[in-house]
């Protein structure tokens, strides 16, 4: 059945409401004025220029990118074997393990952040790379496990059985046969965990310090202090970056399928 024009109108309205703030930011990011006002007094690229020469934000960007890459790698290293075990092996407590690995997603990040602060403070790990990596991995690993479980489950078990009969040990069969066939899932998991870490704000607020800070936290602070369109230029840059990443995943395996919700 074709959707009625009423439904289409309603959907269009919904989409408009969802996208309007983004469109607003897009327009403002090209402003020639000194303040976050709409409509802008004129158009220019000055705030993009200002953004890329802002030392504080650029340093935070480098930190965030590096941190996200490290978190993504760690999440895959931990998440892929766990996902393989959940998807392939039959052992007591499998359901419990799967639930435990998802649990961090159910807790408010505020609670996670506070908990991490209480644990990491005495250890001297606040505002350090290991501390941030640990905090971000806590929320990134569940995504990696979820996506990789779906990816492993989609590889026929017979392939592995065939590899065994040809002389491959279970480990070699998993690495040479199952893993390559789950590669699109691994790439999707890598990209999504990267974005999870890159966008993470609440946990970071608890764990950063003057020595080490991430981009979302710096943005937050910048927006608190100043009201110029630089923040709009930054927001636009990040949106474009995230869209590119999602496009990569979509291209590789379909975003919705990667999330295991088809």
């Amino acid at each position: 059945m074709r959707p009625s024009w009423m439904l289409r109108l309603f959907a269009a309205f919904g989409l408009l409401v969802l996208l309007a703030p983004g469109a607003l930011v897009l327009v403002v990011s090209f402003s020639a004025g000194d303040f976050l006002t709409f409509p802008p007094p004129g158009f220019s690229l000055r705030w993009y220029e200002a953004l890329f020469t802002h030392a504080g934000l650029m340093s935070a960007l480098a930190t965030s990118a590096l941190l996200a890459a490290a978190v993504s790698a760690l999440a895959l290293l931990v998440g892929a074997p766990a996902a393989y075990a959940i998807a392939r092996l039959d052992f007591p407590g499998r359901g419990v393990l799967a639930t435990l690995l998802m649990a961090p997603l159910l807790l408010p990040t505020l609670v996670l952040g506070l908990g991490l602060l209480l644990v990491l403070q005495p250890l001297g790990l606040v505002a350090t790379w290991p501390g941030l990596m640990l905090g971000h991995s806590l929320v990134a690993i569940p995504f990696a496990v979820r996506i990789m479980t779906t990816a492993f489950a989609a590889v026929p078990k017979e392939l592995e059985a065939a590899a065994w009969t040809l002389g491959a040990t279970p480990l070699r069969a998993a690495l040479r046969v199952t893993l390559p066939n789950a590669a699109p899932g691994a790439i999707a998991a890598g990209v999504l965990t990267f974005l999870v870490s890159f966008d993470e704000t609440v946990i970071s607020l608890f764990l950063v310090g003057p020595r080490l800070t991430t981009l979302p936290v710096e943005m937050f602070r910048y927006a608190e202090r100043t009201t110029d369109p630089l923040i709009a230029a930054l927001a636009m840059s990040l949106i474009v970056f995230a869209l590119l990443m999602v496009a990569v995943v979509e291209r590789l395996m379909g975003f919705t399928r990667a999330m295991g919700r088809d």
Partner: protein, 362 residues
């Protein structure tokens, strides 16, 4: 150990799935000589695939032993068994070329790159796919994929070749050709082979030995001719080939008494009691009105033609007798008598005592 020792021996092999009331494989024992092809034949769920998977090591038996060349391999994991397996789904590695698939087992054995490539190519050429070595599985047709799977299994020069319904995914036209190719290749290489199928024609045409299975048990293990002509159990008589089934009683001396008080001779040595007799259509001879039965044809039946089905080569006749419905057949090419036959025509049927297979009533 003598040269006549079986290459594969199953001793009381049993597999019981949790929750199932009866074992999937129930104390299966059999011997297979070196170089022979064994067909495990039976309906779906009879335990034939589970038996094959246990031989491959992909499933663990709950009881019994598997011996290969006298060695007990029951506890060995699949990667240490040297079994070439062709799966029903072929299970080709989609991320590798045909050559990569064929070389996989050699790579696992630590062979050098050049040696691997040479032997993989040789295996692909053996199945007639030498020219398509660079293709990936999805670029190959079903028949070609099947050959790659066979080449991959044979490349490791396996102790045993295990085939799980390898023809079932092919269309009917291809099937016969591939069947004969597999058989020819198997005989040329002398590879001891176990073949799972639900198709009796396949089993009879390819195998040296057929094990007919039902409900986890081997009903009969014999060469194809014997399976077909001398079924050992009621199940084999009904599952393999077509046969008319007559209900009655077995009396002393092998006399089978059936409907209408008719007494038929059989070669049965069973104890007297309620029984069922099976008679294959190709064993029934049609007699001309005044014709005397040939020597040895001890049983004579008066019949009425109920239906005649022309299938090209064979004319299938369904007749009514006092004993019940009996099937017969004529060859369109050599038997001219069928041309005049119409339903309702009286017929005289003759058959040997030995061709009436009698089993106790279920």
């Amino acid at each position: 150990m003598s040269g006549a020792a079986p290459h594969l021996r199953l001793e009381g092999l049993t597999r019981h799935y949790g929750g199932a009331p009866a074992p999937a494989v129930d104390a299966v024992s059999l011997d297979l000589p070196r170089g022979a092809l064994l067909a495990l034949l039976g309906p779906s769920g009879c335990g034939k695939t589970t038996t094959l998977r246990m031989i491959a090591g992909l499933e663990r038996p709950d009881g019994g032993r598997i011996l290969v060349g006298g060695q007990d391999v029951t506890a060995l994991p699949p990667h240490r068994r040297q079994m070439g397996v062709v799966f029903q789904s072929y299970a080709l590695f989609p991320h590798m070329t045909a050559a990569g698939n064929a070389a996989f087992g050699l790579e696992m054995r630590g062979l050098g790159r050049a040696e691997r490539a040479r032997r993989a190519q040789a295996a692909l050429e053996m199945v007639g796919l030498g020219a398509l070595a660079g293709r990936r599985p999805r670029q190959l047709s079903g028949g070609q994929q099947q050959r790659v799977a066979l080449a991959r299994a044979l490349a490791i020069e396996p102790e045993l070749l295990l085939l799980d319904e390898p023809l079932s995914a092919l269309d009917a036209k291809l099937r016969e050709g591939v069947r004969d190719e597999i058989r020819a290749l198997q005989q040329r290489l002398g590879t001891t082979t176990v073949f799972v199928t639900h198709d009796q024609t396949e089993a009879l045409a390819m195998a040296d030995l057929v094990a007919v299975m039902d409900a986890g048990r081997v009903e009969q293990l014999a060469p194809p001719e014997e399976i077909f002509e001398r079924p050992a159990t009621r199940f084999v008589a009904t599952f393999v080939g077509r046969a008319a089934r007559l209900a009655g009683r077995l009396e002393p001396g092998g006399v089978f008494r059936c409907g209408g008080g008719l007494a038929l001779r059989s070669a049965s040595g069973l104890a007297p009691g309620p029984a069922e007799a099976f008679l294959r259509p190709h064993r029934v001879r049609l007699l001309a009105p005044a014709e005397a039965p040939p020597p040895g044809f001890d049983n004579l039946l008066d019949a009425t033609l109920a239906r005649r089905t022309y299938t090209g080569e064979v004319i299938a006749l369904e007749t009514e007798t006092a004993a019940g419905p009996v099937m017969a057949e004529l060859h369109a090419g050599t038997d001219e008598a069928w041309r005049g036959l119409a339903p309702g025509a009286p017929l005289r049927l003759a058959f040997r005592a030995a061709d009436l297979a009698v089993f106790p009533a279920p």
